[in-house]
């Protein structure tokens, strides 16, 4: 069935709300407005204001309240408008949600799901465009997901809700309009990375909003005789090392593609793991394509230049064969 990422996400929300009375959605403008990215459009009419709960502009308090409600037996889905604003709630996510199980000696679970948009590409400048999922992915105690396909947009939410620990879901804002084929039946797991395009000469390892660009780069490389394999990490914490290492061992070359800033990027972490676990499988140094180290500029040509692009990925991959 053809669907968009946004519709798939909405179907997932609707299913979660319909099947479990403990589930409710809260966040800024999720109700009357219909969701900043229209993901929750129509759900207020269907489920009412108690379960599609508009919040004031209080990221710290409503994310914290989501954590408290999860401790209190509910299964809240908290929508934060963008990862940029989630920094206002970082304390609750990092100092409370992620720590409560361990700090209490295993007595408390925090089964909250926190969704947020991430990423650039819409000319909305520096305070609305950054990718900071690598920050969250460095914190023990939470799971971090990055659905990049309609199937994952449809499937990951229910798996996240079933998880007893806090789960943060990053939805790249450029993906909402993307159309794709939703397989019947669709399947879900929130454990493994996936091969999105099999190949044998270079591993292109990416996730989220960079997946379509990477697949495009793989097609461009194919025309030049380079058979790229594309790995979608999907789960940013805990990382699925095995799928990455299998691909690297097969292709013997790898490029990491990631929209976070290069320094301390998620790509850097994956590279470190490859060096630790598969160094002797490599025929060339590792390469990465990340965001340039600038606050995201507004002007279109500048924004495009700051971001990973298919041409940059192709150049990086070809560089490994020089």
């Amino acid at each position: 069935m053809k669907t968009t990422y946004r519709e798939a996400m909405r179907a997932a929300l609707r299913e979660a709300l319909a099947s479990d009375p403990r589930v409710f959605l809260m966040g800024e403008d999720v109700g009357r407005y219909g969701g900043t990215y229209a993901v929750s459009k129509g759900l207020l009419e269907e489920f009412g204001p108690e379960r599609i709960r508009d919040t004031p502009l209080s990221e710290l308090a409503f994310v914290g309240a989501g954590i408290g409600a999860a401790l209190g037996g509910m299964r809240p889905i908290v929508e934060v408008m963008t990862v940029n604003f989630s920094l206002l709630a970082l304390d609750q996510i990092v100092n409370t949600a992620a720590l409560y199980r361990h700090m209490s000696g295993g007595q408390f679970s925090v089964p909250v799901v926190i969704r947020m948009a991430t990423g650039a590409g819409r000319q909305i400048a520096a305070q609305h465009s950054h990718s900071l999922e690598n920050w969250y992915a460095s914190v023990p105690g939470i799971k971090v997901l990055a659905p990049a396909t309609v199937e994952d947009a449809r499937g990951m939410l229910s798996a996240a809700l079933a998880d007893p620990d806090p789960v943060v879901i990053f939805e790249h804002a450029q993906l909402y309009n993307v159309e794709g084929e939703l397989p019947e039946p669709w399947t879900t797991d929130i454990r493994s990375a996936m091969v999105r395009r099999p190949g044998r000469s270079v591993s292109l390892i990416t996730y989220g909003g960079s997946l379509p660009k990477t697949l495009q780069a793989a097609e461009m490389l194919a025309k030049e005789g380079i058979d790229a394999e594309v790995i979608d990490l999907r789960v940013l914490r805990p990382l699925d090392d095995a799928t990455v290492m299998t691909s690297v061992a097969k292709c013997r070359r790898a490029v990491l593609i990631d929209e976070t800033w290069k320094t301390g990027s998620l790509a850097a972490e994956v590279m470190a793991r490859i060096v630790e676990q598969a160094f002797y499988e490599l025929d060339a140094p590792l390469a990465r394509v990340c965001s340039e180290e600038v606050p995201m500029p507004y002007a279109r040509h500048m924004e495009e230049a700051a971001l990973p692009q298919p041409q940059k990925i192709v150049a990086a991959a070809k560089g490994l064969f020089a």
Binding site: G64, L71, G72, M74
Partner: protein, 330 residues
């Protein structure tokens, strides 16, 4: 703040209840005095925030609540855990960092948790417990559970954005949350007047449309009465309530604090208002307590403390192989 005259007037409790209150205050006092010694002996490490001087607040307020209520506390929570029903042995073992502690030595003095007692910490980020309490109360409201979530915090928390955001959410959604501000006048070393443009805390809280009460936190009778009134309001579904308990910390903020920020005379003055001795004096004057009874209680508590210390001493360490256990469920 001018120091109020010592509490007076008849104690509206029978001897048994009154003795129970003395007993709980004594248990906190003696446990913490011993903890301070153990800190000196390096048996207890890290931070240790003593509640000495403030005991009437936890004892009076928690005795106004029901066993099924939720409690959210701060890093100065030994007393709350003890009064709530956590065995002294378990608290002491946690302070020692032993496996028999409530958090298996993962938390320490600042992170006492007990799922069965519905004690949700032991939260050491100032004001971070407030959003959590709003959420716990919201969960109860959504599930139709008639329960109060009591959230304890210091006046220092009221300078945090989390306080304001939480009061707004709690009032907006009319959740059953009871906000218990333990105003001990100092946010670590910063006096209230040096950190707040509005030093009347009830005015701050009241600006959100939340009903408030200001009460002498050194008077356990007043504390209990205020908490009874507040919890009833919350339990009846009338929305959140804010109580300011005016109290004073006799010891340093933590064991690292040289107390350069306050006058020794001020501390001595507040000590004349000690919750324990003023209350026992009242009871004695009303012939509800004899010196003999008090000494017997104190001896009983001393035994409990020594038993807790012996238990913690003998308890085992968590094996290092379990270091990464309980980070996530799987």
């Amino acid at each position: 703040m001018t120091i109020a005259p010592p509490p007076s007037g008849p104690v509206p409790w029978n001897s048994e209840f009154a003795l129970g209150m003395v007993h709980d205050m004594l248990r906190i006092r003696r446990m913490e005095e011993r903890a301070a010694e153990l800190y000196g002996e390096q048996k207890i490490r890290g931070f240790l925030h003593l509640y000495i001087g403030e005991e009437a607040v936890a004892v009076g307020a928690l005795h106004a609540l029901a066993p099924e209520d939720n409690i959210v506390a701060t890093y100065r929570e030994h007393g709350h855990a003890l009064v709530r029903g956590m065995p002294m042995r378990t608290i002491m073992a946690e302070m020692y960092g032993k496996r028999a502690g409530c958090s298996r030595g993962r938390g320490g003095s600042m992170h006492l948790f007990d799922a069965k007692l519905r004690l949700y910490g032991g939260n050491a980020i100032v004001a971070a417990g407030l959003p959590l309490a709003v959420g716990l109360a919201l969960a109860d409201k959504l599930q139709g559970i008639r329960r109060v979530t009591a959230c304890f915090f210091g006046e220092g928390a009221m300078a945090e954005g989390a306080f304001h955001e939480s009061m707004n959410l709690a009032a907006l959604w009319r959740v059953p949350a009871l906000f218990c501000c333990e105003n001990n006048l100092y946010a670590m070393g910063t006096a209230l007047a040096r950190s707040e443009s509005q030093t009347d805390l009830c005015v701050k809280a009241g600006s959100y449309g939340v009903p408030t009460l200001k009460v002498d936190g050194q008077d356990i009778v007043a504390v209990h009465q205020a908490a009874m009134q507040a919890q009833q309001h919350v339990r009846e579904g009338k929305g959140p309530f804010f109580v300011e308990f005016q109290t004073y910390r006799y010891r340093a903020h933590s064991m690292f604090d040289p107390e350069l920020y306050r006058d020794k005379k001020e501390v001595e003055e507040w000590k004349t208002r000690g919750p324990l001795h003023t209350f026992t004096a009242r009871l004695k004057a009303e012939r509800k307590l004899t010196e003999q009874q008090f000494l017997a209680l104190d001896a009983e508590v001393a035994k409990e403390v020594e038993d807790a210390v012996a238990f913690a001493e003998a308890a085992e360490w968590e094996p290092v192989e379990d270091l990464t256990k309980d980070v996530t469920a799987a």
